[in-house]
Amino acid sequence: MLELYGTRVSSRLLLGTARYPSPAVLAEAVRRSGTEIVTVSLRRETAGGRNGGAFFELIRELGVRVLPNTAGCYSVSEAVLTAKMAREVFSTNWIKLEVIGHHDTLQPDVFGLVEAARILVGEGFEVFPYTTDDLVVAERLLSAGCKVLMPWCAPIGSAMGPQNLPALRAMRADFPDVPLIVDAGIGRPSHAATVMELGFEAVLLNTAVAGAGDPAAMAEAFANAIEAGHAAFQAGMIEPRDMAVPSTPVIGKAVFS
C-alpha cells in the first residue's frame, strides 16, 4: 500500500485527465488503469456555461480521489489563490502545486515553488510539489512542510523518459522515508518501470496515456509496468558486471573428447 498524507491507496499510478479524445475514453482509461487518484485543473467558466459541471459530474461518478493542480500558474500569488479555489470546489486539502518558471520547458520556478508551498502548508494544505530533481530544492520543500515530492524526469508532455537517472537515484537515497512520485516526462511503460525499479513510490502520467492509440489499453499497460517495477525493486535486483558469469555450474560437466 502507498500512503500519501495519511491516505492509503493500492494503485501506484496517478492519472491526469487532460487531452483525451472524449470523456468516455477518459473514464475507460481511469477504470482500466486501476488508479485511485486523478489530477484535475481549474479554468475560467463561461457565463451560463456548464462545461465545469459536466466534467465535475464525470469525475464524481468515477469514484476516485481528486488531486487538483495549479497548472499554468507562473507566480506564487496565482498558485496560492488557485489552490484555495480548488479546495473550495473539491473539498480536499490536497494540491498538486505547480509554479511554472519557463515557458518552453515548463520547468518549475523552484524559488516560487518553495515559497508557495510554505504558504499553503500554513493554510492547512497537503502539498504535492511538482519540482525538479534538485536535492537542495527537495530539502527546502520538505522544510516548508511538504511530505511528498514529485520530481520531473523530463519536461511535461515530452515523453522523453528519465533524463537524469543518477539524480533520481540520489533523491531516493537522500530521502528514504519520503514518498517520491515521478511527475512529468514519462512516455512509455518501460520508462515507468525504470523509475519504479529505482524505488520511487508512484508515477503520475497523462499525455502518454491520453495520446496513445488506445488510451485505455495503454493505461493498463502502464499499471502493469508500474507494478512490475515496484515488485522488482522490492525483490532486490542484481548489479550489472563487465564480464560473463556462467549461469550453469561447471562442476559435473560431461567430457566428450
Binding site: G16, T17, V40, G48, G52, F55, F56, N69, E88, V89
Partner: protein, 65 residues
C-alpha cells in the same frame, strides 16, 4: 458600475457577488469565486459587496494533468 469578470469588462448593477452570478447565469456547486485576487467562499457570496472596477474570477473544474 463596471466590473471585470473572467477578464471581460461588463456593466452590472449587481450589489453582491451572488447577485452578479445569478444575473450572468453562473450556477452550480462546482464553481469557485475570487474578487480582486481573494477567494470568496460559497457562503460569503451573498454578503460580498461589489464596487466599481472589481475583478471577479469564476472558475470551474477542468481536465488537467
Amino acid at each position: 458600475m463596471t466590473l471585470i469578470v473572467n477578464g471581460e469588462t461588463l456593466e452590472s448593477g449587481a450589489a453582491t457577488l451572488s447577485e452578479l452570478l445569478l444575473a450572468l447565469e453562473y450556477e452550480g456547486e462546482w464553481l469557485a469565486t475570487a474578487v480582486n485576487g481573494e477567494l470568496v467562499h460559497r457562503e460569503d457570496r451573498s454578503t460580498c459587496r461589489l464596487s466599481d472596477g472589481d475583478r471577479i474570477e469564476v472558475l470551474s473544474p477542468m481536465q488537467g494533468g
